[in-house]
Symmetry: C2
Subunit: 163 residues, 2 copies
DNA sequence: GATATTGGTCAGAATGTATGTCTATTATAG
DNA sequence: CTATAATAGACATACATTCTGACCAATATC
């Protein structure tokens, strides 16, 4: 049953135009990653993978960048640690702190995700035509700039559509 | 502290290009709606507002359209009922079923949300230029079509990004 | 050294989603 | 028309993700 169009979809709000492809993309990515050896990575963990760094990042810093509490980030990091995707090493420069780093498995996941993302974009570019594709990306970049001006204060919680 | 760029943001994946403006838009909408008399509407409720109909919709149907279980949709409908945004009337054509309908307050919320959405889009169109704006919308519609072809099976759960 | 700040944890709660099971009702097969 | 299957929704339960508030240990500042 291919879900009927929603109201916002029907009237084509910008929100719907952004949300729908994003969700489809994310769903397909996670499904494929699950099939390819990473069934235990859930969407919430992306907050970690997006903000981790090769040198190792602190929970507090990652939390701030992801705009969530350090407790929440800590919870996600813990879960990834249990699953073997990250390791925690003491920060030599501050004995309170720990550095969160990708393990080999963590790096493998990230690589797989990026490869998949790239492959999907290639396919889309192919289907839409290179010019259209490039134009779309340019306009989205522009949109990001203008929206930042319009709504400068991303107020802590961003959620919205269909989580 | 304006959160540093995430990794995907840095390398500009399509996902990030769609997610970021969507989140900014949603966050600003909900913040403004909260300030304007609707502080008790949370993002999750949008699943209800997107799929409700003027004649009244069944929980089961809304659940299917929103691609969630009827239990989950039931939970959201309940919460909106308690808050006075929807009413439940028996379905005359099926005594098992109830129709979920917007109350006046529910309709007022929906109207406010749509007005705000429209206002935001106007502002963006203004800032980006009407031509660019129209082009962006056209390309996003195209993207939606192509993505549907690429990933035909939205597998139940859509989540992904940074909800 | 005294005090304030910061990195991280512990405890508890709220929210949103899913399963599994059940009842009442409707629809269908024979 | 009855027996059986399917459907609408509820209840109970569990899990995942996030938040607040209180706290400890280490660091930085005065």
């Amino acid at each position: 049953m291919a879900a009927k169009k929603s109201f916002t979809e029907e009237i084509g709000t910008l929100g719907a135009l952004l949300r729908l492809p994003y969700q489809a993309l994310a769903a397909s990515m996670y499904a494929e990653l699950a099939e390819n050896g990473f069934p235990d990575i859930r969407p919430a963990f992306s907050s970690v993978f997006r903000h981790i760094t090769p040198q190792g990042a602190r929970v507090t810093d990652m939390a701030e960048q992801a705009q969530m509490t350090k407790q929440s980030m800590g919870y996600l990091v813990d879960a990834l640690h249990e699953r073997g995707y990250v390791e925690l090493v003491p920060d030599p420069s501050d004995r309170r702190a720990k550095l969160v780093r990708l393990t080999e498995r963590g790096q493998a996941f990230l690589d797989a995700a990026l490869a998949l993302s790239h492959r999907n974009e290639e396919r889309l570019a192919e289907r839409m035509g290179r010019d259209e594709w490039a134009h779309l990306r340019r306009l989205l970049e522009r949109l990001n700039v203008e929206i930042a001006v319009l709504a400068p204060n991303s107020p802590k919680k961003a959620g919205g559509g269909a989580p």
